[in-house]
Subunit: 484 residues, 2 copies
């Protein structure tokens, strides 16, 4: 299929994973590639987990990674600190029981925070690549913050993974913004354009080890769309059709972002049924999920920009078999470009993200169940919700088989504020919150979005607070009585 010369160029310090792992200090700060559960290093983390050493690593990824890091290294008590996002139950449990000190960060600014923002003092980067040279590498299934991470360390370990097609380079457009205070604007004029190349360059003196691997990603599994997913999708499509007519921003194109996950994937897929007239449909988000491949196959999508091919295993197979065709319309960028506040604004993106729950006044909790128990992290939801000219939260009206309302009096953790959330969509309907006072938002959310079985108690809560004074009326004594 490929020859070694395709993947290894020049005089490289090729070693086995154990040797590379042995060079990492026990309490090192390790930056790893990986985003959307793909493109992360596998062999060196495994070697660390199996080393029997008493490790206390700080591990910083771009986004979610596989079990080699967030299960195996956790089970061997090797991780003391973990930023910025995870999506595996083992890591989640260790974060919630206090074994791992976790810090939940926005994706767009994470590269900056690592490189100069005082988040960490990084020691080593471990990066998965399809090919490596003496001063460059080509990433695999995600870019994430690899360009920033490679620039942040004096020691670099590259895993060249033969299980990742060499041709993945066709997707990559590496452009890392230069540093403030003289940072130029990102010179991208259209969501699907290219401004870089496939290579990430590095200081050759930093290249400590090159490790060969041959192991597939452990990508996401998406559940089949539920009835709620389909109803949410139908409500979203119907709202969008009206909005496209209203706003001058969408005369020629519709530029959408969807959050990571099964609902986001179902919403992407459902756009195959949307009638947006002769407008170009464009995706500008952080992950390519299976639903986007459907749109690409139907010729319904002009271009798709992201930082990760966060596909299911079946989706990966589909893509890997036809890289050249998909690469015509798909581009992968570093996460500080895919999630760039200025580009989300300049391109007029419509952001669609899910949440655990929203409250009567339009605040959203995306991260902490009952305000306490970390699920995955805020990821890029804040980047898009904060900066998009139209920000939509899409979620089912209930959780736990209907036992809990996801429309609550007050969310016990706020990731997105009333200042940022424009529209809420559930399977019940759409609440357009724009221009409404808090009380008007509350009435509209209960009426249009809440589940009928919770409507009465929500109205009771509102009635109870009507006698209070204040712009945002709450009865703080009972406001969290709905949490589990």
């Amino acid at each position: 299929m490929t020859t070694d010369a395709d993947r290894f160029r020049g005089d490289l310090p090729v070693v086995d994973a154990e040797t590379a792992a042995a060079g990492i200090d026990r309490d090192a700060t390790v930056l790893v590639s990986g985003f959307g559960s793909v493109g992360y290093p596998k062999a060196v983390p495994d070697a660390l987990a199996e080393s029997g050493r008493d490790l206390a690593l700080t591990v910083v990824s771009g986004g979610s990674v596989g079990s080699e890091i967030d299960v195996d290294l956790v089970e061997t008590d090797s991780i003391a600190r973990r930023y910025p996002y995870q999506a595996r139950s083992t890591a989640r449990a260790a974060i919630n029981d206090g074994t791992i000190a976790f810090n939940d960060r926005h994706i767009s600014s994470l590269g900056d925070e690592v490189q100069f923002g005082g988040l960490v003092d990084a020691d080593v980067a471990i990066v998965e690549a399809v090919a490596v040279g003496e001063d460059w590498l080509i990433p695999t299934t995600s870019l994430g913050h690899t360009p920033a991470y490679v620039d942040s360390v004096d020691t670099l370990i590259v895993e060249v993974n033969r299980a990742q097609p060499r041709s993945l380079e066709r997707f990559h457009d590496n452009y890392r913004p230069d540093l403030p205070p003289n940072r130029d604007p990102i010179p991208l004029s259209n969501p699907g354009d290219r401004i870089g190349g496939p290579r990430i360059e590095f200081d050759p003196a930093a290249l400590e080890a090159v490790v060969e691997t041959d192991r597939s990603d452990e990508p996401y599994e998406f559940r089949d769309p539920t009835e709620d997913d389909r109803a949410i999708a139908a409500n979203l499509r119907s709202f969008l059709v009206d909005e496209l007519e209203r706003s001058p921003l969408f005369e020629e194109s519709v530029r959408l972002q969807f959050g990571v996950g099964s609902l986001g994937n179902a919403l992407m897929h459902s756009l195959t049924e949307a009638d947006f007239g002769d407008r170009d449909l464009v995706y500008f988000g952080e992950v390519i999920q299976d639903g986007l491949l459907d749109l690409l196959d139907e010729g319904a999508l002009s271009s798709a920009s992201a930082t990760s091919l966060a596909l299911s295993e079946a989706g990966q197979r589909r893509l890997f078999e036809d890289v050249n065709r998909y690469a015509e319309n798909v581009v992968l960028r570093p996460a500080d470009v895919s999630n760039s506040p200025q580009l989300i604004d300049r391109f007029g993106i419509i952001a669609v993200n899910s949440a655990l729950e929203v409250d009567l006044y339009g605040h959203a909790n995306s991260t902490n169940v009952n305000g306490s128990s970390m699920l995955n992290g805020v990821g890029g939801s804040g980047d898009f919700t904060r900066n998009a000219p139209l920000s939509i939260i899409a979620l089912p009206s209930t959780a736990k088989g209907g036992d809990l309302s996801r429309i609550v009096p007050m969310v016990p953790h706020v990731d997105h504020t009333e200042h940022d959330v424009d529209v809420v969509v559930t399977e019940r309907g759409v609440a357009d919150l724009r221009g409404r006072s808090p009380r008007e938002r509350a009435d509209r959310l209960v009426e249009a979005c809440s589940h009928p079985s919770f409507r009465e108690p929500l109205y009771e809560y509102l009635d109870r607070t009507r006698s209070e004074s204040g712009h945002i009326r709450h009865d703080l004594d009972v406001v969290f009585s709905w949490t589990e």
Copy 2:
């Protein structure tokens, strides 16, 4: 002093304020100039208030405005809706008793929201100017969102105010970003550069009325710095000196933003005592307050960029007497440039904003006392806190003469999340929250920032939650027992 020809050019529909006001529908959506309590229209709002008509206006300003709007129009029940910010007790009371429907918006995106974002369907703009022509005007003491507002209406009323020096035009640099989805990056390379001119252009068919006035702004009053203010300033300076050494961003210059208000003003002033080596000191924020004039007078400030000359009356006199000298280093921009997320990022701004309170995990409440009672609004604090590479919340550790702690278990309203707040400074000390887990943040905030008289109860709260599980540990039953 000035001649009419300096202020009125061409064939203009000059009328008295009553005539101009009579043309406004009773339930019109009125966009007004004004930001930082200066540069707002005065005569037409007064004429509306005195008209005896049964008005139900929607009034959208750039930021805070004077009593002609937020007192007189409120007392005559003429305002049904009000966006995005106010700072007068009369408007505040009407918002909190529910008479006025208020919607609290970020400043940076407000112009977009008005022009195409679905916030309002605007009818008329009333704009204060130092001069007007048939298709242009020159603003007075603030730019705010006047460029966007003038583009959003078919009917424009201009108040030419002789009490505002004609020479104010020297400060103005009007550049309005073009609209998404083909919005170009803002072509500003340095915080003090100029990319526009003093004029705001408009469709001549929209110019309905020109009204002559001669009335001063009702600007802010700043209290003298308190002992707490001085201690906060000293702690902030000492933190900054260390941070400037640590970060490569600040090798050559220090680019600061301070929030509006007496504390912000005191902090600006206190920089006269700072030793930042031979670094250029630059201000890039939303308001020029008196403290910055001190720095300019001492030659300590390279440049100051803002959208408003939010000075005290004494500060205005000082500036008006020496416009030409101050205009060498001071530039006023539209609020979507002064508060631009991309510029805050590209220029590497250090953001310093106050808040009502912060909680143990780093969330900040800037707007709603007890989670309910609106103070002023979020203003630009979110624009800067979210996008600056270093975001600092500076506040006294207590309120109400020491009776209330401003470090609380959980804030009952979140304007800035744990993902955005990097550092908290009180008169007691500095808590650097970067890279810390929630529990580490809590310990550090209590230890470094809380008032000694609240340290025990805060530790008790933390002890009580240590037995709970979760990433962010709370006892939701008692979490608001500290509110009034």
